[in-house]
């Protein structure tokens, strides 16, 4: 019995975990309890050192002193303040008017605003709710297909998951032991491409099913010129001029900059130009710009300013992601104050939600660390690695299997659970197969985004359901009785976008260059040539537990992993600090080796 137990302890542990999680008790506590239970079993079986559990407080300490996690409350708080600042409403109204006259225009506006909101807030619920309340009624009023309308809103809302600064990417970076800045830079282009794919789908619909996405009728275009013309020419001229300015700036001043940096800075320069033009036009009453051109310019400034403040400074290396988050949160506060949209009640609510979300996130992480302490102790990582490396097809086979696995799990688990439980297990295997971890992280990020769209549990669908009309209602403007949006329509509307997501996963696998641009910034320094001494660990008390017992030769695997660890020492001192505090990948391999060889 005990021999069988010893031989199968890792799979047993994993099965116990799955069962316990499914019971429905909070994930954080179940994870930790399973870890501790099996640690005691392992110690009783002489498989683990009795001192193993002494390392527990150290795990908690490692989570506490982890700077990266500070991004979580910062970006959450920023998103919560922003969602109340009225920015989303302004954007949706104006951009809807701008694109509305096009066939499918309202859908494009939703995608465009969804991407802009994603690049500032990173909160799916806020985007979906705003768009569901503001754009959906307009789309329904003018005869959009209900499935298309709800699908495009839910999907655009989930862009917040993949376009930086998103929480998924922070946690992914933390779990894979990479820098958040690199993860952001890597996810930037895939995020934009994904939004482009959504746009392509809408374009396809307008060609094959034009009645699904009609243009706004004349009477609904409220931002027209006094003389009745649309004023679009003026927008075109301004956009063309701004684009020319930004391209010229990029050509002359940013020749050697990496792509993400170029995009961010040149966009800012172009916007600043448009803004100055609009201000000059307004104050001097030149009348050179149409109403819509002026409005669109002003409404684009706050989100673009925030994007620059947060992503721009991170990409330029001026600020760390943590600092960028804090600056963004402060910027959002200032903006909300300036617009007089913030009250004490609102502020308290934002702080309350932020505190709750950060707490449960950190507790899942603590639980996962406790679990992994035992799981690595019983060589569970070797078991997982064996399972995954024995797959046919090498790298590609591994990527395909892992993506299918995550895609299926995403029906049941949300991204916190996926990234804290699954990523630490498969990350080291990916690393061993020579897969770039940033690429891997972005790939899984795109995949996990589907967890928000999967019927019937997807959160985006759930939020949309809560704000979409569930009963027949009288449209206030047209006085027409309008049909509700059924839950079935919301579910069916999501399916094409889930398929697009799968296409995108394929694209990221096929064209890793989209992600690899993150490396462009650091070509000047070769990380492998830099030697940095790890700072001595502060947590000296647990040191004995992490070293191999004296007199016992290191296993080959441990040596390999130690070598890897040395190779991985980054140029970034902060990164090495993080390593020292133990992202699971780097610390776990040094966990105690089995005290006795398992009896056969």
């Amino acid at each position: 019995m005990s021999a069988w137990l010893i031989a199968n302890i890792a799979p047993l542990m994993f099965i116990t975990l799955v069962i316990t999680l499914l019971i429905g008790f909070p994930v954080a506590f179940s994870l930790a309890a399973v870890g501790i239970f099996w640690a005691i079993v392992g110690i009783e079986l002489n498989l683990l050192q009795p001192t193993l559990l002494q390392a527990l407080p150290d795990r908690v300490w490692g989570v506490m002193s982890n700077d990266t996690l500070l991004c979580v409350p910062f970006f959450t708080f920023m998103g919560l303040i922003l969602e109340r600042s009225g920015m989303a409403e302004d954007l949706l109204d104006t951009i809807g008017q701008l694109f509305g006259p096009l066939r499918g225009g309202l859908a494009y506006a939703v995608i465009f605003v969804g991407a802009l909101l994603a690049a500032t807030t990173g909160v799916v619920a806020a985007s979906v709710i705003s768009m569901g309340l503001i754009s959906l009624p307009i789309m329904l009023r003018y005869g959009y297909d209900r499935r298309l309308a709800s699908g495009v809103i839910a999907a655009s809302g989930t862009l917040a998951q993949i376009i930086p600064p998103s929480l998924v990417l922070i946690i992914m970076a933390d779990q894979l032991g990479k820098s958040v800045g690199d993860m952001y830079a890597g996810a930037f282009i895939p995020g934009i491409v994904l939004a482009g794919l959504y746009g392509l789908y809408v374009a396809g619909v307008t060609i094959f099913k034009p009645q699904w996405a009609p243009a706004l009728p004349l009477e609904a275009r409220s931002l027209r010129e006094p003389n009745g013309t649309s004023g679009i020419t003026s927008v075109g001229v301004l956009v063309a001029l701004a684009a020319a300015v930004s391209v010229a700036y990029a050509k002359f001043y940013l020749k050697d900059s990496p792509l993400d940096e170029t995009i961010v800075i040149s966009t800012c320069v172009g916007t600043a130009f448009a803004f100055v033009a609009a201000v000059v036009n307004k104050t001097m009453k030149l009348g050179l710009l149409s109403r819509i051109a002026e409005r669109a310019t002003f409404v684009m400034i706050p989100p673009l300013a925030l994007i620059f403040l947060v992503l721009g400074t991170i990409f330029l290396g001026v600020a760390t992601p943590t600092e960028g988050g804090a600056m963004g949160a402060t910027g959002a506060l200032i903006m909300a104050l300036a617009r007089r949209r913030i009250t004490w009640k609102l502020l308290r609510q934002a702080m309350d939600t932020t505190a709750k979300l950060s707490t449960f996130v950190v507790f899942i992480l603590i639980g996962a660390r406790v679990f992994s302490l035992t799981f690595y102790g019983v060589n569970g990582h070797v078991w997982v690695e064996h399972l995954l490396t024995s797959l046919p097809g090498g790298q590609l086979g591994f990527l395909i299997v892992v993506n299918i696995l995550i895609f299926v799990l995403a029906f049941f688990l949300d991204f916190f659970e996926l990234s804290f439980i699954i990523i630490p297990l498969i990350g080291p295997v990916a690393d061993k197969l020579g897969i770039d971890l940033i690429w891997f992280g972005v790939l899984l990020g795109v995949n996990m985004q589907t967890s928000f769209m999967h019927p019937p549990f997807g959160f985006a669908l759930f939020y949309l359901r809560s704000v979409a009309p569930a009963k027949q209602y009288l449209d206030k403007l047209t006085n027409k009785l309008t049909d509700p949006v059924t839950t079935g329509q919301i579910y069916r509307g999501a399916i094409p976008f889930v398929l697009i997501q799968i296409v995108m996963i394929g694209l990221v696998i096929t064209f890793p260059q989209m992600v690899m641009v993150y490396k462009a910034g650091d070509t000047a320094v070769d990380p492998s040539k830099i030697q940095i001494q790890l700072p001595p660990s502060e947590s000296g008390t647990s040191a004995p537990d992490f070293s191999t017992p004296p007199g016992q030769p290191q296993t080959q695997q441990q040596q390999e992993q130690q070598q890897q660890k040395e190779e991985k020492q980054d140029s970034d001192a902060a990164q090495s600090l993080e390593d020292a505090f133990g992202t699971p990948k780097d610390k776990e391999p040094a966990a105690p080796a089995p005290a006795a060889p398992p009896p056969k």
Binding site: W61, M64, G86, E89
Partner: protein, 201 residues
Amino acid sequence: MNALLSLSRAIDGMSERIGRLVYWLVLAVVLISAANASVRKAFNYSSNAFLEIQWYLFSVIFLLGAGYVLLHNAHVRIDIIAGRLSARAQNWIDVFGIIFFLFPMALVIMKLSWPLFMDSFTRNEVSTNAGGLIIWPARLLVPIGFLLLIVQGVSELIKRIAFLKGLIPNPLDKAHGKTAEEELAEEIALQRARDEQGSRT
């Protein structure tokens, strides 16, 4: 049981007060971090104490807030199965989970983290970073945080059992007021209505 229920109410009151105090630190840590970043850029001056205070405060938020989050039932669950069960079954799951998962894990971590604090306290341990802060208050947060979690767990256990005995309404669907999402939706709808009225008059 009545005495236990008043104990539970007292614990809930304490956790609620602690939570409401602790969440102000979110604003504090945001402002400190932003100020620190600006000063670092503008005057090229940075202090390790300011960097450390940020994660100190964040640790206070999640460790002292753990009980508060438990009180509000905001720790994430996987409810694909539990969500379909009866209220009684859900409460039984919590009784089981609190006794066999929550208590053991919190007790073990609390007990094991205490010596670390004592050691740090007697040595008057200071951060190894230049100009860093003293460490022992942060070390003390761990046992205190898990103690608060256990205490709140006791209160939750009392409430679950009281429900199963038919003494109180289901604590799991206790209306915690509106969710943030519901309030956001209401506010946008209100704003819309105001705008529409404005445009009509």
